[in-house]
Symmetry: C2
Subunit: 653 residues, 2 copies
Amino acid sequence: MTYPAPDDPPRTGRSGPVRPGPDARIALQPATAAHISDGFWFARRQVNAHMSIPQGPGLLESAGNLHDLRLAAGTASGEYQGHYPFMDSDVYKWLEAASWELAHTAPEDAGPELRRLADDVERIVTLVAEAQQPDGYLNTWFQVAKGGERYQDLRWGHELYCAGHLIQAAVAHHRSTGRENLLEVARRFADHIDTVFGADKQIDGIDGHPEVETALVELFRETGERRYLDLAAYFVDRHGHGLLGGEAYCQDRTPLREAENVEGHAVRQLYLLAAAADLAAETGETELRAANERLWLAMTATKTHLTGGLGAHHDQEDFGDPYELPNERAYCETCAAVASIQWSWRMALLTGQAQYSDLIERTLFNGFLAGVSLDGESWLYVNPLQVRDGHTDPGGDQSARRTRWFRCACCPPNVMRLLASLQHYLASTNGEGLQLHQYATGRYTGDVAGAPVVVSVNTNYPWDGRITLTVDQAPGDRPWTLSLRIPQWCEQYAVQCGPDTLEAQAADGWLRLERTWQTGERVVLDLDLEPRLTRADPRVDAVRGCVAIERGPLVYCLEQVDHPGGGLDDVVLDTGRPLAVKHRPDLLGGVTVVAGAGWRRSLPVPQWWPYQRTDQQPDAADETGERVELTAVPYYAWANRQDGSMRVWLPTA
Amino acid sequence: MTYPAPDDPPRTGRSGPVRPGPDARIALQPATAAHISDGFWFARRQVNAHMSIPQGPGLLESAGNLHDLRLAAGTASGEYQGHYPFMDSDVYKWLEAASWELAHTAPEDAGPELRRLADDVERIVTLVAEAQQPDGYLNTWFQVAKGGERYQDLRWGHELYCAGHLIQAAVAHHRSTGRENLLEVARRFADHIDTVFGADKQIDGIDGHPEVETALVELFRETGERRYLDLAAYFVDRHGHGLLGGEAYCQDRTPLREAENVEGHAVRQLYLLAAAADLAAETGETELRAANERLWLAMTATKTHLTGGLGAHHDQEDFGDPYELPNERAYCETCAAVASIQWSWRMALLTGQAQYSDLIERTLFNGFLAGVSLDGESWLYVNPLQVRDGHTDPGGDQSARRTRWFRCACCPPNVMRLLASLQHYLASTNGEGLQLHQYATGRYTGDVAGAPVVVSVNTNYPWDGRITLTVDQAPGDRPWTLSLRIPQWCEQYAVQCGPDTLEAQAADGWLRLERTWQTGERVVLDLDLEPRLTRADPRVDAVRGCVAIERGPLVYCLEQVDHPGGGLDDVVLDTGRPLAVKHRPDLLGGVTVVAGAGWRRSLPVPQWWPYQRTDQQPDAADETGERVELTAVPYYAWANRQDGSMRVWLPTA
């Protein structure tokens, strides 16, 4: 694949999806400007820009989402299409993605492809506006398929959820293009909701699927209208009080401020927590901040897969119990990875702590990126950590095979909108310097007491651990701090400034380099990328006696296609043999593979009963068998070749 | 609990649920008569007879099933009650259970409780007959809630499934009471189905939930009408040809004769296979028999939990992949245990092989019996092998807590009907002797060239391994074989006949004792019940590094209530310390507990990330911690005290 040369200069002054207000009590602000210009994420972004996003309108047309909007607008006739009440949200998420994409290029520099995208966006924005009802209400499912009834099924109706995605699209569209038309639609719907919902209004209620809450905070940030923030706070507060029957699934079992661990439908929980972090930022409420911190720690310590994936149950798309982290039935919905990144980024800004960006990095490179194929044209909804030999694929949305589009198509446009706005999750500023949370080739602008500081990053990360930073602009007359996150997985690193090796030590995950930086100064950070073996807390029963191969931020897996002559269920890793690394530009778009050694167990002839007395089946049976060379590939790249088994966690002797 | 003294004499000539026809090509016939009179299963039967079954009519009334029949009969008005199209089947399964219960006692010996039960049965039979439509069709969901449409939704409608349970109830009622009224209803419905369904009839189709197939075979056996057998064969043959869209869920992906492993919805698969075994018996078809044998071996070798439980997925109640046998999310629906026993019994009769009864024993004592509480008043739908510390119970049908009745109440009456007819699954005859498949105190009658042979069994099994057999009746002038199944789990046994220790060795699971038995002769079989540790095939990833405690046919588990001061997720079993056995008449209705030793791991202070480099978290961390005495109780008795964690598989060092 070749794509047009990068037409992606930084456009300062444009904001990303999260723009804390002037009074927010937060440790860090998003970077003043951020721009990815080359390297790993640039390539993924190019695929997103030139393959995934441009195909959106056609897919939304054939899936019926645009048709449904036309039905609501009265400009088409026929049956309502699609199976879910949240068909509109796919349109909104695509509009958000396309809007972020438009922001990369000044309109006057746009080529024909981007001008076509801008036209598509405006065409669909017009369609959305036409579908809106005079009082601001907008939901095609209820307008068309349900005969106009409203808010009768808050548990499952997704009306406010769709409103939330409309608002986020409108904010993105406004921030990216400066145009008011979609924002106007969103404000009218938000105003309508504000007249209906409230403790002393028509309906004291919440939506079964959170999303409107974080969107309303952002609408407050975009418009300055305080009542949107109040409405968001109302919705967050009313969760957990049984308004929807008290189910954990709907985030209605426990008030957030009292919860001890994340629970219920993973995406719902995470969207709600993103809003809670937003509110803690804007209101400064310490109890809500403490709940966010407590729940984040409980989630990562007990309910997060190695890939950053979240959600252990297919049934109800639920988090599951502490340490219940299955491999073959890991749900790890791609949307949950997106939502986790959104929440963690808000927490990173709120607290300034590096751990949140550690999880973002892990999720981006693994649980999130696995959700889209290398060619940007097919998707995974669930992201298991194992596919067994003899797997019978169920097909449909929850297939372990990549799918062109889903019946429930929430994930693809969610991936698109995150990739299109990815630069906004990489760096921050705090008036005293610049913090680099992630390492992607590009330019990042911070603020030192009102003066801009600009740092360029050049790296072949994650294949190479060397990250070269150049100060492109600095006041030159005063000290400030360039903070580099030392990843949680990293045991050894070295940092050089010009000819000098610095003795600086990271504290709390941050390597803080304070000096009066001069333009042109260079820092070279070397992160040790020796591949490593990882094991889990022993309470993670699903992986007892197993290790995973990791290298840098990447989780690796075995795929059957690389291991002809047998399956993977009987493979044992020989941990006594060293791992070897090789970059393979020809493979999977260019990946570094990790080679290891192991054997295929010599298993007894299958009997009818697979359970035996321990004295009949000695441990030694595991340790014999045919030697086999193992080739591990990055997890994010799996399922891009042929069907077959896969596993992240490898049994050891 | 005290119940009336056993009023349960054997009633020869009465058949159980499976009565192969005179031309069936089978190795074994069910015993001529069978009667359980004391001991473990007698106690469970008493609870079933005096608690579970008598409560049925009240529960069916309050859940709306009987109301729905009245609506269909036009003798009541109101809304249809219940959420599922198979509400009728609960009534039929209860009728079947109650009918088997009535068969234990001659009508003239019935006390007031049994007379009340007989009255309830006849009242409900009358109601069923009134609800039937003139042409024989009968399904309240479609008659009442769906405005009379029929056979429009074969995938989900369960019309033939309900018909199947009606037929089975009618056969049971006829065999138990000699009455024709319910059999007449069933025949009229079967005749109606026979006019509608067929390759060249109105509908070439199958039901999404098999059940009618095995019922039609039994109706053929009861009535001698060959066309019921042909219709059953037609339905079995048409599965797997895409008539319902080709889903594995509906047993429609692969024709049975081509299938390599069980798949899809576990109960559907098993009911279909029971019918396939019936057909192989009646037709002698070797290909169908071979498919049954192949699928049974594949199921037991790769998709069966230690408890005999079947079904690895909550989602779609599906079997899952080979060796995918999770603990906390084991589905193991109680109905699947019932269905597995039904299929295996048919296979035992078809082939004469002991392994089928090995699985029946394991399932009866563990995966099946766990489904009903000790008091017979509450139930488990799913039967997990682990409940974690900090478990958030979802409530509803799939709760890990016992429930009074389910929204989808398929399991309770399924347990009732199996327990009420249990004696029919214990022994067989083949014209050359008597085979004892299971050991329950009682009397069992076989046939030797037309002469009856009667053997009494006396045992405190499974608490004690001694089984005393007395020949109560024998021709006395010719040799015949008393065959005793030596359980697959049993490593050592001894058998004595009078004063003589016999040197007989079991072959293929059967200890065959051939002699000219005289009335009064006694055989004492001693099965060694030393508790043992069991491990799984290494492909069962979920239990790597773990063992289970078993004793005799019983799988044991730890429950939190017996281990105060901590949870169970951090417990490690010390396999170097011996297991000790103690009978506790005071506990859980009287159980033998197994005591072991272990420790609670000394786990690091929780960090935010539970995955560590192997060089940072040595194995030795597992081997230190607080010593703890462990008390294992039989799995079937779990969840009868207080809520809390539970686990069958125990990590070892």
